[in-house]
Symmetry: C2
Subunit: 225 residues, 2 copies
DNA sequence: ACTACCATACTTGTATGGTAGTATGGTACT
DNA sequence: AGTACCATACTACCATACAAGTATGGTAGT
């Protein structure tokens, strides 16, 4: 395995961490993949120290499983964690969008509108990956607008597991149309300050988001715990 | 997936991590304290490597702030993060106790009762520290009973910030009586399967938990951001 | 007195050698 | 053939040395 030279904008350890995390969540490194400090250090052209640092951080997030003196593997997707992540997001996002209906800064509302615009463009181009990122950004902006940035950051930890499942789902039918339509309705509801309606939409939205986990388990049994 | 028979709690790195975290949350290492890898390595009689590992993990949790080539400090308590942690716990715990009112395993209910018993004992002995731990355990058992262990674990990350504030509060009036009474009412509500009542109690409970943050800020201005 | 400079003693970041535990494959023995 | 044993090649873990950036205090020059 070989990787391009590092961007080196940040420290080596940080760069390795971000690259590894991106590759794990995007399933370029599938669940169960065996890694090793030495292997990655040669691949990234750095020493074992920054690699080890990354391993520690990723293990803390549950994306790697380190077995002392035995090896390190990309963690299998735990269906219980996926459902918990969905549950967690539902509770917090429903509460947040209710806050948004009470007050929401104009600049953030513009960001949402701009995001919606680009969602439509991505769907027309059938660009699933970009739509995925726009979807994430949309929800992050919601939290930012309610000054719940820290909450969103913590959610990301669970979200890493949820997102690996959603990544699998990309090859099936992501149903971006309905999801984007719900995003639009959320923005409308925030403008109307219609808390109950927004809450309902968000409830449906986060039920749709990963409705068919068992299908994925059947198609990729070796990826799941 | 199979885990090693003994989790790496005996590894030097893990030991340092747990000790440091405990000392930070308990305020034995007050916010703003300057640390250094070298200093801690001599203190713990290990090399810099495991110490550095701990620093990386604690920095990821926001308990340490690492300034490259400059130094490392125990993070100041961020009032916004404290409020966010409270907000997050409120949303999730209200949802969880509603689940508990629908179904809750008997053995976990027994654990709650046992916990309540020991809460009363701790209060009589005026043992604030133990009461603090029992309080934490009580809520953890709630999550475990609803199979939301992973959610509780993620909450802990934000909770570290909230708990440092609560630790300051210990020297004032923690109001353990009211809190313990609310715990009792929660268990009763779960037995009666009275979701709405349980929800209300939890709502009040998590409002009480850190009602007077500004008082703490006045008493310890150097601890806060 | 004031300022620019610099040696020095810090700090974190990185590289590397060595240690101990583990999986594996081959071999001698039963 | 089957089994116990052992050399070997891994692994993560830890200690240590070095590199590079930064704060600090002293000093020489103005």
């Amino acid at each position: 395995m070989s990787y391009p030279p590092q961007p080196a904008s940040l420290s080596a350890g940080n760069a390795v961490y971000q690259l590894l995390k991106q590759q794990i969540v995007s399933l370029e490194l599938p669940p169960g993949t065996a890694l090793s400090e030495k292997e990655m250090s040669t691949a990234f052209q750095v020493s074992r120290t920054p690699v080890r640092e990354s391993f520690v951080r990723l293990a803390q997030e549950g994306l790697l499983v380190v077995l002392p003196q035995r090896g390190t593997r990309v963690s299998l997707i735990d269906p219980e964690l996926v459902e918990e992540a969905r549950f967690m997001r539902e509770q917090l996002e429903r509460a947040v969008i209710r806050l948004a209906c009470e007050s929401f800064p104009d600049d953030k509302l513009e960001q949402l509108e701009d995001n919606l615009h680009r969602q439509h463009e991505s769907i027309e181009r059938h660009d699933g990956k970009e739509m995925f990122e726009l979807d994430e950004a949309f929800h992050r902006i919601l939290f930012e607008g309610c000054r719940k940035q820290g909450t969103w950051n913590v959610i990301q930890q669970m979200n890493a597991h949820l997102n690996r499942s959603r990544m699998l789902w990309l090859s099936l039918d992501p149903g971006w149309d309905s999801l984007a339509r719900q995003h639009q309705e959320m923005v409308d509801a925030i403008r109307r300050k219609d808390s109950d309606y927004a809450d309902n939409i968000m409830h449906e939205h986060l039920s749709l988001i990963i409705s068919n986990l068992s299908v994925l388990q059947d198609r990729h049994p070796d990826y799941f715990k």
